[in-house]
Symmetry: C2
Subunit: 670 residues, 2 copies
């Protein structure tokens, strides 16, 4: 299919760049050695005949998709073991190359089931479940969400009632709305499950606890008595994953199936409180941090497709009868795609930073030091929302920037989008996440007002608001950042004032929070925006050794900052911090930055180093031979297996024959 | 499936509304008689057993979807004839009830093929093709876009070379990129096609003309010699439609197959120019007007789903241990969904207005009066972009406002979105459409500067810019509209100045336009925004007789206006027109408006009068019994036909057995 030569427009773009993209690849993946290793592992997967013979995703039925991903998952699991891979990043790179945009069938087993037991189980419980899980005798998932209950965990209806006589918990779904709903791999794949349920013992409700519940027989995988389990049907995406429902009808499990590292139920039914119940949410914090990385990677892929295609696509002559221009030369196209490019870099650095912080904080938590947990929780929830919203919106902008061909599944966009956009909802609905973040910020604000000196990110709340911005046409990043910080502090201050005012006027705390919630979300959003810009700047100042790459990346960082101001101009102008003159200048400089980035656009996306097998895009191919690829995709349509479709013989022909006989005066038109 | 009772939350909402929704239904559908007729026709379709027995869309394969829609299309075409329906609106209502979100298989035949011949054919040509088309002997489509060429029509590569010896045109696809690509119903359905091609005669290129080309044999539907035609493969949506590709290898058609009402080729090959070549684009203007209606209807459906579900869904206790609140009571939820609601009404009125104008102007064009064509063209292109962008973005916001269940295909959102979002691309890519609109505005601006008095919509360009807004907390619509008009005029003035400045500095007109294009788009967007607000206000002032309904709709119109200012605040503040104080007031009043609309939210969506069969949404049901419906949808998943999936026997079991033998120390985790 691939033509051996690179499209000349794309080749010229690569020659014109002011830096060598490999230098940024090193920055993105933390050094040459990791890049070499990533490429080696990905080439192994790409050249593996078992994977290469995979059928085209878009021609498969739902059931075939489930089966195909299961085939690949077990194959990869074996191969990863044979290769001796243990580093999660390496495993990810390797798997990604052959299962691009397809989730592992055992993803929840690895990322939620096992970690939950590891984090919340006693030593004895870990002994009992982890080895069996690691050898895939037990394959589990994590069931929290119910048909009628999502983000509000305390509202869950599933009950686990302790029976001291038999020393068992009776797990039950008392209502339709208590049916567990949505957990990945619950419908068909898992034989075990961590079930979050209201613990009832000695006549008391002791809150939500985690219980290990067997779902299917280990010998033949049939659902166990009392367990009604199945797939929830098709979704916008995630077609290979059997998100499931689960009804438990008084299912009994031994006492030791409640995870008891923190909370405990003694044999007689006495409940022992945990030291800190925040720990229950530990595994969610990690997943939220990972989502920012997913958002950055997905958006980077979409930018790769949009920018390479825009370099190859020519549309509309620039001078009469002249050659048609590369779409990438249109200012409107740059304005659609380059902010997304800048955002993908920004989120990439922010995501890596968060995972690093998470790993550091987790170490401390394991040692019993919980001071940093609120900050991590507050930031990770806001950033999860900020990054998934930004990526989700910009992914669609990238798709639409590719015109009609962007709508074809040949472009690869649709699959990236439908797999990323649920990140706005899962692991905490974004609006709720922003409000969580805002609550953290309000607490910090109150502490600052009472004179406490705040650490790190929130230290800006200790400083008074400056009256006006020092931004000028040089676009110094520190001045731009000051504006973001100012906006965040102003919005936090105003939201806090609004909440306080409502409480003073007699509203309850909850009513006040609700009536200030639009402002609270704006405040948290502004804080996350400032944070993301800050991590981008920090990376620039210490993480990029190559001067040419650093200079180019600096321009991209300026675009990120300036676009964010122009895109939210009212929030920067409303108190006069950014003046009309500055705003006009920023509008103009934004266009200048687009032109500055233009020659490096292809190099910026090449630096993401995404193999064609991962992009799976006729438009984003490294060699730019897009039209051959689109046409090849078209020819493979299932509908083309027959020249004359069955529908013609079954429906059209009889209809046309009938119409001929009728010879209507005026026929109906649909 | 349906429980006989209405969910009590939803019933209470309906009681609390300040107006009777039927009054707004009359406004939306132009009177009680049309509403009665719509309901009658829709109930016919809904109760038709041939349609009721349709399988669940989301369980069908691509080929089955194509076949199912063909089955329904021929059935409906017959039924429409039997019922004697001729009014397009009635046909639409009837068909919609049974084929919701499924395009007619003959849609391009009716909306493009026949109208193009009617508009561009001579009397003789109409005689030759229209009767055969109306009795479905000839089934056609319209092929303009090519693999390498979209919006820029002059760039098309397909050639039609006149051969005076045989008095035939030789139609040819000289390159891969000249392959016709994307036309609906081209792949498998159509046996004829209007092909747009470069006319070559007497050694001259005479521009793009329309040619009728047979594609398939009329007796057995096989592709004709020289014709390579097929389906282009799966897309984000439109799965039932066989968007196609077409390569023509020196296919000969008689001279009379060129549509010659305007341009002509005489027998000897002499080319006769048309009086006005704008007429070639006539059918595109109509389709663009219709897109605004599609956008309004789709968004109205999404709001119906989101608002009804938000009334039923309860999440998070408002007071400790109290009842969980209706999601609709959360300010953030109102802030997500109510602007979409206001927009769906605004676009509804704007779309109806445009179709009325179109019909009036078309009558004039048929009489040879072309004065209004530029204004219609300029406005319809911008409005097409404005409305499809707004709806596309807000549809996704509605989906995400419904949390996890919004992502399930049970919600109905995904299908509405993937069918509406391509409207941002087809019939003229939105960015190009906005630039077309901007070009029209620049011309008007130049005329105004040279002292011409402009008519209607653009007369604002005759007035000087006012310095500051008179908006106050009463939110009078005229004051709000003034702000929109001011913003539009300012942006048009600035964009014109920028273009002029660039030309003065030595750029060509095309370079100048490109370097001002981001500003031009902003200007056209602002103009369309003002226009849409204006049609909403006009409707309020003359089209709503019921006082209670008018009062409620007035609040919704205020929300539309205020939200648009707050959402684009920088554009209103940058020149000081809206002051900081006014901006702060508007931010606050926006929240007040959300609270005012809250009790009427369900009534506003009930007024759209969309039957459950059209919504096809477990979340948007009129009776609000959402959980029963979601669970029912889940149970019907194809994956649930077997308790133990085939994938277990084929892949999981062998893998688990193998792992047992290996007993790995540390197993691989994917």
């Amino acid at each position: 299919m691939a033509s051996p030569t690179v499209n000349p427009d794309l080749a010229r773009e690569r020659k014109r760049a002011t830096f060598d993209p490999i230098q940024l690849t090193y920055v993105l993946y933390n050094g040459p050695e990791r890049v070499r290793r990533k490429r080696y592992l990905q080439s192994l997967a790409i050249n593996d005949p078992v994977i290469a013979n995979s059928p085209d995703w878009h021609t498969l039925s739902r059931e075939q998709k489930y089966e195909e991903v299961m085939r690949k998952t077990v194959y990869y699991t074996n191969r990863v073991q044979e290769l001796g891979l243990t580093n999660p990043e390496e495993i990810f790179s390797y798997r990604e190359a052959g299962m691009a945009h397809e989730n592992s069938a055992f993803g929840l087993h690895s990322s939620m089931f096992i970690p939950t037991i590891e984090k919340m189980g006693t030593e004895e419980q870990k002994q009992a479940w982890i080895p069996r899980s690691l050898r895939y005798e037990v394959i589990g998932t994590y069931a929290q969400t119910e048909l009628g209950h999502g983000t509000f965990v305390r509202g869950l209806e599933t009950t686990a009632t302790y029976d001291p006589k038999s020393k068992e918990f009776v797990i039950n779904s008392p209502t339709l709305t208590s049916t567990k709903f949505w957990p990945g791999a619950l419908g068909k794949t898992s034989n075990y499950c961590v079930v979050m349920a209201q613990l009832l013992t000695q006549g008391q409700n002791c809150g939500i606890q985690a219980f290990i519940v067997p779902l299917r027989r280990l010998d033949n995988h049939q659902a166990l008595p009392g367990v009604t389990v199945g797939d929830i049907g098709t979704k916008f995406g995630y077609e290979s994953i059997d998100n499931g429902f689960l009804k438990l009808n008084h299912v009994r499990v031994p006492r030791m199936n409640m995870l008891m590292r923190y909370a405990k139920v003694l044999e007689d039914g006495t409940f022992i409180k945990p030291d800190n119940d925040k720990l229950v949410y530990g595994s969610m914090v990690f997943i939220r941090s990972v989502i920012t990385n997913d958002a950055a990677r997905s958006l980077g892929q979409a930018c790769t497709i949009a920018i390479r295609y825009s370099a190859v696509r020519r549309q509309t002559e620039v001078s009469p009868k002249g050659e048609e221009a590369q779409v990438l030369d249109y200012q409107t196209q740059q304005h659609r795609v380059f902010p997304a490019l800048a955002t993908s870099y920004a989120l990439w650095f922010a995501g890596r930073y968060m995972v690093d912080v998470y790993l550091r904080v987790t170490e401390q938590i394991e040692k019993g030091a919980l001071e940093e947990l609120p900050q991590l929780h507050g930031l990770s929830s806001g950033l999860k929302a900020f990054s998934s919203w930004a990526a989700s919106r910009m992914l669609e902008e990238c798709r639409m920037s590719c015109g009609g061909h962007g709508y074809s599944n040949a472009s690869g966009f649709s699959k990236i989008y439908v797999d990323l956009t649920p990140a706005c909802t899962y692991e905490g609905e974004n609006m709720v996440m922003m409000l969580q973040s805002a609550r953290f910020l309000l607490k910090c604000f109150a502490q600052a007002k009472s004179g406490a000196k705040l650490p790190g990110l929130v230290s800006c709340l200790n400083r008074p608001l400056r009256g006006s911005s020092s931004i000028d046409s040089r676009l110094e990043l520190t001045a731009l950042f000051d504006a973001y910080e100012h906006r965040a502090v102003r919005l936090i201050t105003e939201a806090a004032g609004r909440v306080q005012g409502l409480v003073t006027s007699g509203k309850t705390g909850q009513q006040a929070s609700n009536q200030a919630s639009v402002q609270l979300v704006a405040a948290a959003n502004a804080f996350c925006h400032a944070f993301v810009l800050k991590t981008f700047m920090d990376k620039l100042s210490v993480g990029v050794s190559d001067a040419a790459a650093r200079s180019a990346l600096n321009t991209l960082c300026q675009l990120y900052a300036v676009y964010g101001i122009v895109d939210n101009l009212g929030e920067f102008m409303i108190d006069g911090y950014v003046s009309s003159k500055q705003a006009t200048m920023l509008n103009q400089r934004l266009l200048d930055l687009l032109a500055e980035i233009r020659p490096n656009a292809v190099a910026f996306v090449d630096a993401f180093d995404t193999p064609d097998n991962v992009l799976k895009s006729a438009l984003g191919r490294f060699d730019g031979n897009v039209y051959e690829a689109i046409f090849e995709y078209a020819k493979n349509s299932k509908l083309n297996e027959k020249d004359v479709a069955d529908a013609y013989h079954k429906h059209m022909k009889p209809f046309m024959d009938e119409m001929k006989l009728k010879a209507p005066r005026v026929a109906a038109r649909l």
